[in-house]
Symmetry: C2
Subunit: 275 residues, 2 copies
């Protein structure tokens, strides 16, 4: 299988590393350094900045920030034979899928639930997707073989696949991923003077703030693109935070304890806990 | 050295496990089960529910929720000879230190920066404090030997010690620990319906929400006791969240990206990052 990956950042280069030796891999990136490194590391067989390089591919994977995916997909289709499957790896799906599919019905959106607060070629790892889940978001009219090709891609990377509509995906991800990232970023507003007490950071601080070190362009794009689902979630969070603020302000200790117990039970119910 | 530990929960029983064989250990707990387990496991030599058991100790460690520490300390001093050092392990210090020291000048507050979202005897681990930091918060008038005894306790547990005033401790901990816990708890308000998509939880979700599984009584006490420092932090966070909300609402993409970049750089500056 001949696969072209557009964007050799954390996600694209990790796909290339995972597929090394299992497919004929072409890399496209405007960053010449990433292409050079990919060729030198042997994770791509050919590479350049031009989208025309994808011409004879069986599958094209667009691994770029959300804000660049649609334009890149529309730029690619002049070079591809009809029926060639395109997928992407963006963290939002509704807008991307509807806009690309209007011009290229063989597009299937996907979103690997994997990542890191680091980005770029050097952060890539062959095992990034292993034992993880990749969501696939076909539309009602997507042909079956397109779904199969994209499923196979993620299975070859070691991930399980899970199908959802693009709309459901975006609603769920607003809660599971987008809001936690937003809230962790915002916490940095209070962390500007903490360098001199970094010896006191516990695991709670480290884990809670880790994702605030994520790439600003990637997350700007996600917050803007999924605005529809994120905005009501921010509002809900603000109301809940104001509520707990008032419980503390008014010394309503018993209600505070009861609320914290509900929250604790909610968290514990989401995971398998010992005992 | 004869050490009495009041409270054989996560922290108290972890201290007992860490000190096993290094000191003569007595356990006091109203929970008969924890005492029985401690005796059976051999991590305490004697144990009961009565504070009088501490009578001949060289050091008493109160490892109870913040709301029970002052009352317990005042109850202990009837049984102790003058000069016996008492310490605690609470996550707040100002109120506890000032109130206990007024009756017992040989009290030195401490706060091991260690913990877990789990609590209770069964969650205890001998290595909980190893390679960590324990903050010690003497007052200006604390006698030197009292500080030394408490330092030695934490060093025997494998922790480094760090001295701070009780007031500074509470201000710093509001930012480093108390607010992250509060914000993670509140996020559970949005997570009530996520059980059916738990296969899609990534590391971001897991890490961000982990501390929301913490004990509600312990955290009610901390939020109430350190209200003075936590309230302005909540207000600051609300303002920062409303600001990013307005940037998204008004499509101010460039300002959003710049703000996320400041936050990303703040996070990265707090830790040693590769590259």
């Amino acid at each position: 299988m001949k696969i072209t990956i557009v964007g050799l950042g954390l996600i694209g280069a990790s796909i290339a590393r995972a597929l090394q030796g299992k497919a004929y891999l072409t890399g496209i990136d405007t960053n010449t350094d990433s292409i050079k490194k990919g060729l030198k590391d042997g994770i791509i067989v050919e590479g350049d900045h031009s989208l025309s390089l994808a011409a004879t591919s069986d599958l094209v994977v667009i691994a770029l920030p959300v804000g660049e995916i649609v334009e890149t997909a529309l730029g690619l289709i002049d070079h591809l034979k009809r029926g060639t499957v395109i997928t992407d790896t963006g963290s939002t799906k509704s807008h991307i899928v509807s806009r690309v599919i209007a011009s290229w019905p063989w597009f299937v959106g996907s979103h690997p639930i994997a990542g890191s607060e680091f980005s770029g070629y050097d952060a890539a790892r062959a095992d990034l997707f292993r034992s993880g889940v990749s969501v696939i978001t076909p539309s009602a009219s997507t042909e079956g073989y397109c779904i199969e090709v994209v499923k196979r891609l993620w299975q070859m990377c070691g991930a399980q696949t899970f199908e959802m509509s693009p709309e459901k995906h975006d609603a769920v991800m607003a809660s599971i991923s987008h809001l936690p990232h937003l809230l962790s970023f915002v916490f940095m507003h209070l962390a500007r003077d903490l360098n001199n007490v970094s010896n006191l950071f516990g695991k709670a601080f480290t884990d809670f703030t880790r994702i605030a070190g994520s790439d600003p362009v990637i997350w700007r794009d996600i917050f803007m693109d999924n605005k529809q689902h994120i905005m009501p979630r921010i509002e809900q969070y603000l109301q809940a935070l104001k509520h707990i603020q008032s419980l503390i302000a008014d010394n309503r200790e018993q209600e505070l304890e009861e609320l914290l117990r509900v929250y604790m039970k909610t968290r514990r119910s989401l995971y398998e806990y010992p005992g």
